[in-house]
Homo-oligomer: 159 residues x 2
Amino acid sequence: MVQLGRHFGRGPASLAEIAAEEDLPRAYLEQLVMSLRDAGLVVSTRGAHGGYELARPPADIQMGTILRALEGPIAPMICASDDPEHATTCDRTANCTVNLLWVRIRNAVTGALDSMTLADLVPPRLINVEPATSTATAATPPTATTADPPTLQGALTPS
Amino acid sequence: MVQLGRHFGRGPASLAEIAAEEDLPRAYLEQLVMSLRDAGLVVSTRGAHGGYELARPPADIQMGTILRALEGPIAPMICASDDPEHATTCDRTANCTVNLLWVRIRNAVTGALDSMTLADLVPPRLINVEPATSTATAATPPTATTADPPTLQGALTPS
DNA sequence: GCCAATCCCGAGTGATTTCGTCGGGATTAC
DNA sequence: GTAATCCCGACGAAATCACTCGGGATTGGC
């Protein structure tokens, strides 16, 4: 998750920590992270003070890779899967012209997905509301500390 | 459905006909077509010899319109809906940077969807069971181009 | 006028997926 | 040795999807 990206370079983060920050049930998060680990995206450290951290820098992790790890191959329809392994040809395939549409959509989605990396979604330095352990939040370069990067909000509302 | 497009100009087609051609349960098809009718995409004729037909020529019906009629607003996630009406801001919206990703994906999908019309999917004149070898393999002359509409902001990678 | 074909429409069902829980075992720092 | 943490399989609730049922309303043909 993005949370881990934010945490990159600071050692492993425990499930409890992430769950608290993300406001998700710990047990559920566990399942998700296991998938990510099986996909080689995160590495785990067992025992006390253990936790998870990214296997490689955020910029090297495409969002598509994450999604595929969590939800399987990208496929708007069964007949248009990302992964040839699961290309179950629906019985209609022969005369199903709509397939072309699905494939186009899938390409659009995978394109969008693979054109973004985790680094694109890790806020430069988003100061959380947590008042704990305040490390003098503003002690960073002048531009980076803005809480609302223009690029982010630009695409959000106007549709 | 594509079937109706194929039938365009030949008067109304009954549910029974379409169901037979599509190999779908009649009662189910009924539901789908009702949605399309409510959206003004098809018009119905009641009584004996009644049926459904397209409200306008296939080239004037975007696939996106069909999909929206059948499945509601395009939204990969609740926080990134097509329709501002249903823009339910998830409680995390404030610090959820992933939203940017979803919006991008949604734009990619809607772009792909709205760049195709029903006419693009109606086989020019597909001879049904005939093993016409000539059309078999080379059958994507017009569409094979990376027809990325400019609205897709270049997110599409050429496959 | 009657009948059959057809659309109209709301309610119900079963399978699948998604999200989430539970309980206990294994590993490691201190 | 003990507490923190990951590991892992199984279970359960809720939503969604694909589909069914049953009856009513409208219309063309006889």
